[in-house]
Assembly symmetry: C2
Homo-oligomer: 408 residues x 2
């Protein structure tokens, strides 16, 4: 079950002026589930994206990058689950294009004004006929008040739908931000099998939106890991419809920081929701590494901890077998790390210092904290001023079950 | 259950002239199990070691390196299970020294002629009194024909004892090589929670033995991974008693290659046995990457595949969900990899080429191979002439169970 996470109340996901969402049951892989999502945007919307760094990136990712670069004015997004259209070569690209052309014909826009997304099984051909056949139904129910349905339509192994909204005031104008995400396995920085869509009706320049998305992704989706795998399809999109009536925000505007930080807050909540719904997760772990020489070495240590199956299974068992954390710090790849000059904390409890167990530490303290569902692991390297924080979950029987059974 | 691996027949583990082994039940952590091993060597033996690169290396590893550097002539090895004596700071070092001093008194040799080893739980103090109390019993049963008992005495979560022998002829003299190993989790290159001891009665110079051990470890223990974790305690020791009567081998001897390759063969068999007995393993996978620009990039790809929990759970399920392998190749970190110019084979079957599924591939072929217990994954990068091979196992419910329950 997800760790302290439930599906959003429908009323809590606020419509964003100009953003319409429609879904369909296209039977891409399985019947009787929402598996197709269409999002439409008004003219003059600003749209920015960040995509997986996987060299085997999926056909739709290649098209998204291409279409964004063409700057034809993005007017719609098309998402299917059930098939990732990755590892599908030239034919995969053809089919992704074909689906954009079909949707363009129905919406009376050009194919390069549509961003396509796919998530699901890799290495299998996209059943493009089913995707196209589902489009009219999705267009039929396009409306602004459809965010929860949209969040449900993009789920794969997710247990709960993920979405959140914020309202802020920019120069006297009310601005809404709503985002949804999906993903629960193959989660790792440089993006995950994760899709995220965050929309606002704020007026913001294209350059400012691109600055915001890179800021936000580095504080959110690039700070989570479930299993260390990096997907072929990860995509985060930010959209701004410019309908709120505020003066256009650029990077020098007084309100830039407020808008950027609120969009980032939404991204963080959506990213953390992915970890809380991590495949088989029973615990949510925050791993903070402080006092590193640079952020890169802090991340090495944090990910060594967050990726260790030995540590993740110990958290699943609520077993304070904390030596496994020391071992991970030791093999993280900092060659000149002085293990006698660092500290390890679990929650607020000092566990290890001077190369060994802290004299003050009692196993009962560790046991008590390990029973909680939200746990902080804090490492102080005492080498410098850099730090980082990442989020991950534990490793359970159900992780194995879900991934052993995923296709069957 | 181990994958095609059973405990060696006692008669198959051949005595090595001059090497005596004795064990005891010292109750380091649990009663009624062999958990202490003493090995003695004659004077003028050559001894070489390779140790974990973990910065949190255990106290006995620190002492081993120190004592080998002192060149006092190693005469004995002392191994305990149940406690790793790692993450134990200065007190851990004191206790490891204390145990060497106690054994030295009993054997009438100096402490720095003894190499200590520990394996088990990290971050807990070594019960040195129990270790010392167990020594007389171990010394009592020291004998040359005790290799299987020795292999059993060093087991932790291992299901079967691991050992193998070879006989070769060097310049008309019969030479014996026998090795044992332990380890089944926390297995990763740069060594594992794995201990390996390989002895021969051949005469070989110290320099030649050191050359051999580095050659052997790079072809064996540094090519295996179970869970990507690197232990604090990994140690491989090669010992040569110089009693076979052959002319001393140096790196220029005609017989050097035969001796080196046979010792390497033993190391490979012991390393593969660790993977075959990997925690919860049901499948043994050989991952070969060919046609890389250099060995380093081949290893990146091989380990991305071997460490992916998604791939390992798919192998556990016998599910040819091979897109996960493409995804791992894509995120392995070769920035200029042309995914349209590589091939993926499962066994002899071409699965993917030109960036997608091979036209000739049929799911039934993949399904048939996935049902086997020994599986070859072969990636051809078509970028150069380098290659590498590593061995790993799948990821099962039992892996989680073993590691969630390990301390209880």
């Amino acid at each position: 079950m997800p760790v302290k996470l439930s599906a959003p109340n429908p009323a809590s996901l606020l419509p964003v002026k100009g953003v319409k969402l429609g879904f369909a049951q296209a039977e891409v892989r399985k019947p009787n589930r929402k598996d197709l999502l269409v999002i439409t945007l008004p003219e003059n919307s600003a749209v920015a994206g960040v995509f997986t760094l996987n060299r085997f990136c999926a056909a739709p990712v290649i098209l998204c990058k291409d279409f964004l670069a063409q700057k034809a004015g993005i007017r719609a997004l098309l998402v299917n689950t059930g098939c990732a259209n990755a590892g599908t070569g030239q034919e995969g690209l053809n089919r992704a294009k074909q689906s954009c052309e079909a949707l363009g014909n129905l919406l009376n826009i050009r194919a390069n004004q549509i961003l396509p997304f796919s998530t699901g099984v890799i290495l299998e051909p996209l059943p493009v006929d089913k995707v196209i056949a589902g489009m009219p139904a999705a267009i039929e129910n396009l409306k602004e008040d459809n965010w929860l349905n949209a969040a449900e339509a993009i789920m794969t192994t997710d247990i709960v739908a993920k979405g959140t909204s914020r309202k802020i005031n920019l120069g006297g104008k009310d601005v809404t931000i709503t985002g949804i995400s999906k993903g629960s396995g193959m989660i790792h920085p440089n993006m995950a099998t994760m899709l995220g869509y965050i929309a606002t009706d704020a007026a913001i320049s294209q350059a400012a939106l691109e600055s915001v998305i890179h800021h936000a992704v580095n504080k959110s989706f690039n700070c989570i890991t479930v299993d260390g795998d990096t997907s072929t399809n990860d995509s985060l999109i930010m959209m701004a419809t410019n309908l709120a009536g505020n003066a256009e925000i650029n990077e020098n505007s007084v309100d830039f920081t407020l808008l950027r930080d609120t969009l980032t807050e939404v991204a963080v909540e959506l990213a953390q929701a992915i970890v809380r719904d991590g495949e088989g997760a029973t615990k949510f772990m925050t791993v903070t590494v402080e006092g590193g020489k640079d952020e890169a070495e802090c991340r090495k240590v944090a990910y060594a901890i967050a990726h260790s199956p030995l540590i993740k299974t110990a958290f699943f068992a609520s077993d304070p077998n904390l030596g496994r954390i020391l071992a991970a710090i030791g093999y993280a790849g900092i060659d000149d790390l002085d293990v006698n000059n660092m500290e390890l904390y679990l929650g607020n409890v000092l566990v290890a210092e001077k190369g060994g167990r802290a004299a003050s530490y009692r196993e009962e303290q560790g046991s008590a904290i390990m029973k909680e569902s939200d746990i902080l692991v804090r490492v102080v390297l005492n080498r410098g001023k850099a730090n980082c924080t990442i989020w991950t979950c534990d490793f359970s029987y159900d992780y194995v079950k879900i991934n052993a059974d995923y296709r069957s």
